[in-house]
Every structure is written in C-alpha cells, then in structure tokens.
C-alpha cells in the first residue's frame, strides 16, 4: 500500500468534511424529531424521520462539498492552464507518446472528427503534436456511420501524412460496451503507451491541459488517474445554456470541494481523464457481476469501479479541479437529459451491490453510495412527499381536546410551527445556499466575475436558473423515480446512443413525455386542495413544476430563447464571453466541408458504396480483420444478397446491412456477385465524376 505524504499532510480534510455533514444531519433530525414527538411517535412518523435522515445526509453532503469548495476557491489560486515555453520544452524532452483514445458508438462522425481535429490543431499550435497519437476506438454498429468514420479517418490520415499518428479500428463485436472497448485497446496496444487520455465523443481538451496532464502524471509516479472536470459548453437551447451556466459557475465550487475531501482517492468520470496504462491494465479488467441484468452481468458505469479498483491496489486517483481547458457537451433538452439519466441510472444502481464488496477502500464505497443516491434520492423524495401528505391528512382528521377531567381552563395543544418551519428553511437554505456562495465568489473574485457578464447579470441568471430548477426538480424526480422503478422491476434499458446535436422538442414529444406527469399533478392537487388544504400550499412548488412540465419542456428546448438570453446577457459563461481556442477550432472544423476520399458525397448510402464502389470497397476491406472462412456464414450472407436484389435495400435492417459488409473475404465475393448480377449496379464511376 502506498501511504502518501499528502494524505498525512491533508489528513484533517476528511474528518472535517464528514463531521460537518454528520453534525448538520443530526441537528436537522433533532429539530424534526422535536416537531414530531407530540403525543409520541407513530410508525408513519418513524418512516418520515428515516427518510428525512437519508435525504438530509445527501443534501448536507452536497452542501458541505460546495461550501468547502467555495472556501478553497476564495483562498487558493485560480485555474492553471497557461504554460511558458520552457515548461513545454521540458515536457517534450521527457516523455514518450501518449494515446488520445476516443471510444465511439454510433455518434455523429463529423462531430467526432471535427473535435479531434480541433484538439490535434491545438497541440500543433504548441508544437507538441508528435507526442500524442490519436485512436478512434469505434464500436459503431450503424453501417453507414461505420463507413463514414472510415472515410473521414482516411482523409485526415492522408492529410497528416507519415509517420502515422491517427488510428482507427472498429470492433467486430462490441462486448462489454465502453469498458470492453477500452480493455480491448489496452490488451492490443496498451504496451505502446505510458498514458492514455480518454475522451468522449463530445469531449474537447485544450493543448495546454493535455500537456499539463502528462506533466502531472510524470511528476507523481504513484498517480494512476487524473480526472480533469469537464465544463459543459457548446449548445444554444435555453435548457442547455442554463445547465452550462450552472455547470460553469457552481461546478467549479463542487469540484474544488470534492477534491478537498476525496484527496488521493478521487473518482473517474469516464472521460477527460489521463490514465497510467500499465496499472489500469493490471487492475481494471472488469468482471461480470453474478446474476441477471439489470443488477448482474456487465458493469455498466465502469468508471467508478475502475477508480475503486485502482484505489484498492494502492494507486492514487486525483481530481484536478484547478486545471481548466476541459469541455464536454450536454443534452440540449429536458427530454434528452432524462434519456441520458435513464442510461446512467441502471449503471449507478448496479453499484449498490459493490458498496459492501470485499477489499474496496471506504472512500470508494462512499463513491458507490453517492452514485446510487444520485438516482435513489428522487424516489425517496417522492416517498417523503407521499408520507408527509398522508401524515398531514391523518392530522387533519384529529379533533383537539381542550378540557381534561376537572380542569377549569382549556389545555391548548402544543404548537410545533417554529420547529417545522425551521426544518423547512434549513432544508431550503442547504439547497440554495451554494448558489448564493457562487455569487459571493463572483463578488470577491473579479477575474471570474467578468467571465459571467458581471455581478448584476450573473445575479439575474442565478435567480432565473433557480426558478427553473424549482420547476424542473419535480419533473426530474418523477422521471428518475420511474427509471428506478423500471430497473427494480428488472427492465433493461439497453445502450441507446445519445442525441447530442442541437434540436428542439416538438409538442407531441413533450405531451408523450410529460402528459402523465401533468395528469398526476392535477389529480394530486385537487385531492390535497379539498382534503388537506394546509398541505396544498406547501405542495404548490411541486405541483407547479409538474403542471407546467409540457410548456417548460417546450420553452427550454427552444434555441431562439437560448439565443435571446445570450443577447441580453443572461446565463453567460466564460467560454461564451471569450471562446477558448480549442472551441474556436471546433467551430471552424465543423464549418469546413471535408472532401471524402473516393469522391463520396455525404448523402450517399455508404454501406452500399462499400459493397459496389471499388474504391470504398477496397478501403473498407483493407480495414477489416482477417477471419477464418465460414461456409455457414457465407450461405447466410448469400441469402441476404438475394433479399437485397429481390426486395431492395429497404428490406434489410441495419444489422443485416452491417453483416453484408463486415467480413473481409465474404465481402469480396459479394462485391463480385453484385457486379456480375443481371442488373448493373447503379454507380457513378470515377471517369464520370471527372
């Protein structure tokens, strides 16, 4: 085991954090207990106390993370991304090559390559490109996307020239999804690199940050993983701009706070992190969990587990909260956000089984528990509201007795309004104080303030964002409760790709996503108004969010509203005010039309081109792995070819189209057969194009 010097030096961080969280929870519980003890505590109230204890622990953990992050940012220097030339030169002399790996799965190839080109360009501007090799680790199943990836890779590889620094491979089988994809990379090429920097399809990282990440890894041989928190950027819808603002402003406090108490046993967020390859390969092969999906089988949220496995083996995992230049894109609409939640929810709930697994560090168990709680909190809040409503209803049925026995004067029932109000306000303060702390941070730190458009605009932005977060919270609560319920009932969520590009929610989509939520709110609102009038008014923020869910979902998805708020200076972020170089480069590359090899047009059915166009076919076959001949497979493919010829391409599903172009030797046979068929393949030849 590695006992680090920093752990001893910073040994008071964790006790302080956990003491603050425990004391706050205990104090809030004492208040609620005092308010409930009138006439003893019944079963319902015990349940209420239990739920409140769990939720309060969750809220205070989040609150103290933000508060400690706030203090840290006040007293510590700001983000470091600038380097002088001597540092870069020093860096270049020291290290070997680092792999920039991007696992992709049916993502938009143009965005993938524009992003990677921007990163490579940023490195080139620092003359450090020769120290990095780029790997596109494709798990793409969609046949057209697959061929487009290959063509874009080839074009860029030709532009970069030799020696090759840009690599591409598509896995024949996407076993174990993203973690399997990375493991396959380590098993096949891991020995070539000391470090790999893992990127998501929408990740962007500045050249300076990439260099600094490698430098920090070189400086600490016991550091196995360094996570650089990504800032959300790049979308224009109102929803995305609100999230980008919140992520940029509050996110920095939270990450500073997380780094404060997590120390050398921090977490992995799946991308925008540098990993020491050898220990990763030695310790992070993921087993299948016993039992059936959704709780058994492949580990879906692999990142937490990989960080825990590295920590278990005694390696350091750190969060570089002070390092900027790390970006990602977020879902552009509320419905996309919920869809992403559904995918993450299953993976995080699966971690419940790992909390008490043998051998993990305590802090890793806390990470697992927090991951579970990030989704379990919603159904618990829902349950808390239901129990509170029932309790309020039962109280409303009780008639107070003022005169006992021979007493001359009435005995008034004890009032616990003060205690209950305190509980309510304490909870609200803990939820909203981080936003106030963020504004205080802006007041103190002028350099950060200008990045958010000044204090007045930032204050208005925080107020509007708070209003929307109140409206969105109950909607997300119902969504997440539904997801948790579905998973507990053992319904698998699959692995659908994300819709990352800017788009807007239509009325039909909003109605189908939020219709039930609106009906629930109307029914509950009517019942509580007529039967528990006192409770109704406490309940209105939740009801408002649900009743307005359709218009709010439509409104926040609008790009025009997002742009309008930008024009009037609301939700501005430092990345919008002064666009980082790598983001500028991304815009430029997205705007540039890339000419594909083989004179292919983007609108072509590319899988078909891979079958019949000799140029695309030759490139594609050269990238396919060698396989043993298989007569049964060839027979099946022959059947598909009959179907293609008799019933047309539309009769084939994506899996069948992929099968036709997935096997090297069979594909050559199919190519010849199509050209030998009675009908000439419809194709514009190279001579015609000229």
């Amino acid at each position: 085991m590695i006992v680090s010097e920093s752990r001893i030096r910073l040994g008071w961080h964790r006790p302080l954090y956990f003491a603050l969280v425990s004391l706050t929870t205990f104090a809030a519980m004492t208040l609620l207990h005092a308010a409930l003890q009138d006439g003893g505590i019944n079963l319902l109230e015990i349940l209420l106390l239990l739920l409140y204890a769990i939720l309060m622990l969750w809220i205070s953990a989040s609150f103290w993370t933000a508060a400690l992050g706030f203090i840290r940012l006040i007293f510590e220097r700001n983000q470091i991304i600038a380097h002088n030339n001597s540092e870069i030169l020093n860096f270049k002399e020291k290290i070997g090559k680092t792999a920039l790996v991007m696992p992709v799965y049916n993502e938009d190839p143009e965005r993938i390559f524009a992003g990677l080109r921007a990163i490579e360009h940023a490195l080139r501007e620092l003359n450090a490109q020769q120290h990095f090799e780029i790997f596109i680790l494709s798990d793409t199943r969609d046949p057209d996307t697959w061929i487009q990836e290959e063509l874009l890779w080839r074009q860029w590889a030709l532009e970069l020239g030799t020696p090759a620094r840009l690599f591409y491979r598509n896995r024949p089988l996407n076993t174990a999804r993203k973690s399997g994809n990375l493991a396959d990379f380590c098993r096949t090429w891991g020995g070539r690199y000391r470090y790999m920097i893992v990127l998501d399809a929408d990740s962007l990282m500045s050249g300076e940050s990439l260099i600094e990440m490698v430098r920090r890894m070189e400086a600490d041989p016991k550091l196995a993983l360094l996570q650089v928190p990504p800032v959300p950027v790049g979308h224009s819808s109102l929803f995305a701009r609100m999230l980008q603002f919140a992520g940029s402003l509050y996110g920095r406090m939270f990450t500073a706070g997380l780094a404060f108490w997590q120390l050398d046993q921090s977490n992995f967020w799946g991308h925008n992190a540098i990993i020491r390859v050898a220990p990763f390969a030695a310790h992070c092969g993921l087993p299948k969990l016993p039992g059936r999906e959704p709780f058994g089988g492949e580990i879906l949220s692999h990142d937490f587990v990989e960080a825990a496995l590295l920590a278990r083996a005694g390696w350091k995992v750190q969060l570089a909260f002070d390092l900027g230049g790390s970006y990602e894109e977020i879902p552009p609409t509320l419905i996309d956000y919920a869809k992403r939640d559904r995918r993450w929810c299953q993976g995080n709930l699966q971690h419940a089984r790992l909390i008490f697994a043998h051998g993990f560090q305590t802090i890793s168990r806390i990470h697992f528990a927090m991951g579970v709680m990030s989704y379990l909190a919603s159904p618990l809040w829902l349950l808390f509201l239901i129990v509170t409503g029932i309790s309020a209803y039962l109280h409303s049925l009780e008639r107070p007795v003022y005169f006992f026995g021979h007493n001359l004067f009435p005995v008034w029932p004890a009032s616990y309004v003060i205690e209950l109000s305190t509980v309510f306000w304490v909870t609200l303060i803990m939820l909203f104080l981080p936003k106030l702390l963020a504004l205080i941070l802006l007041t103190i730190k002028s350099d950060i303030r200008t990045g958010f458009g000044g204090l007045i605009r930032a204050t208005v932005s925080v107020l509007v964002e708070s209003l929307f977060s109140v409206l969105l919270a109950p909607v997300l609560m119902l969504f997440q409760s539904k997801f948790v319920g579905a998973i507990l009932m053992r319904r698998n969520v699959g692995w659908p790709p994300q819709q990352r590009g800017d788009h807007q929610t239509g009325f039909a989509e909003a109605l189908s996503a939020h219709g039930i939520q609106t009906i629930i709110a109307i029914i509950l609102g009517t019942l509580s108004y007529f039967y528990i009038a006192d409770f109704f008014w406490w309940f209105t923020p939740v009801l408002a969010g649900l009743i307005l869910s359709i218009p709010v979902s439509l409104l926040t998805s609008r790009i025009a509203f997002g742009r309008f708020t930008k024009r009037i200076g609301i939700f501005l972020t430092p990345e919008e005010i002064k666009q980082p170089r790598v983001l500028e480069l991304l815009r430029e590359y997205l705007a540039t039309k890339v000419l594909l090899p083989c004179k292919v047009e983007q609108q072509d059915a590319l899988w078909w081109r891979a079958l019949v166009d000799p140029c695309v076919h030759a490139l594609h076959t050269s990238l396919l792995p060698e396989e043993a001949a298989n007569r049964r497979r060839r027979h099946a493919l022959e059947g598909l070819l009959f179907q293609l010829q008799d019933e047309g391409a539309a009769s084939l599903c994506e899996t069948e189209k992929r099968a036709l172009i997935a096997h090297r030797d069979d594909l050559r046979v199919l190519h010849t057969l199509l050209w030998a068929a009675p009908q000439v393949p419809s194709l514009k030849t190279q001579c015609e194009s000229d």
Binding site: L158, Y168, R187, G285, F356, T672, Q686
Partner: protein, 169 residues
Amino acid sequence: MDTGRALLDAELEPGIPLAWEQVEKRVSFYLQALGVCDSVEQERLLARVRRGFETRSHARYVENPLERALTITERLLDDWLAIELELGADRRRLLAARAALLGGAAPGWTARWAGISEESLIYKIMDNLPESVPSGAPLVMEPAVIELCCWQWGMRLINKLRRWLHPTE
C-alpha cells in the same frame, strides 16, 4: 466462388454460356469504376481479361461468365500490384495497396497497369498505404476479482428456500 454460381445459376439460362461480347460491356464498365477512363488503356486491359476468360472457358465446370470475367479483372489488378510493389504473399499489404491505389494515391496508375507507362509507382503507393492501427503491443488485462458481500450466502439461502417451497423440483 460456389456462392456466385448458386446465386446466378438461377438467373441465367443453364447450359448456355455467354460469349465474350456479352460480358465485355460489363467488364468495361467495371474498369471505369476502377478508374480506367482512357480508351487505349481500356482496350489493352480488356484484351488481357479476354485472354484469361477464353482460356478458362475450356474449364470443365460451368460458372457464371460475368462473374468469371470480373474475377479475372480483379485478379489481374491484384497480381500486377503484387509484382509492382514486390509484396509477395502479404495479403494485408496487398489490400492496403489496392485501397491506396483506388483512393488516388498514385495518379496515372492505370497507364502503368495497362503497360503503357514506364514510371514506377512503388514509392507513391507505399507512402500512402492506409495504416489504420500500429503494430500490436499487447498487455495482459485479466478481469479483476470482485467478491460481492453475502452473494454466495444469499444464493445458498435462496436455493434452500426454493427447495423447501418446491421439494419435488
């Protein structure tokens, strides 16, 4: 080429082999798709394909003539590439060279293939071979052992309960 015969026998009248004139047009179109646009080059290459086609037409078994002619065309290209680039039996590099060639790495290659040009293309093609992955540098990555708490104990308990509830199973 079993599959080819199986596929096309159904569409062609059995026992009536197509003459060269009937397949020439298709081969010519295929050559254009490969990038052979010059008529002189096309003529020369068609003559070579025809030689192969007619030699093989004496073969005992009947195969689809279109498929036969196209296969000969493809082989002609591969054989020429293998000799031009001194590739021997390295199939992986042959496929890469074909991709580079058809992707436009060596302008004027069709003249060389047709035997009109004397200019060697070896460097142009070899410099542009697609290199999609570097040579392997494997690491061992075995699945880590994660012992879940109470899993075995829980499974034993569930199995006992199951046996108790359904003793006949």
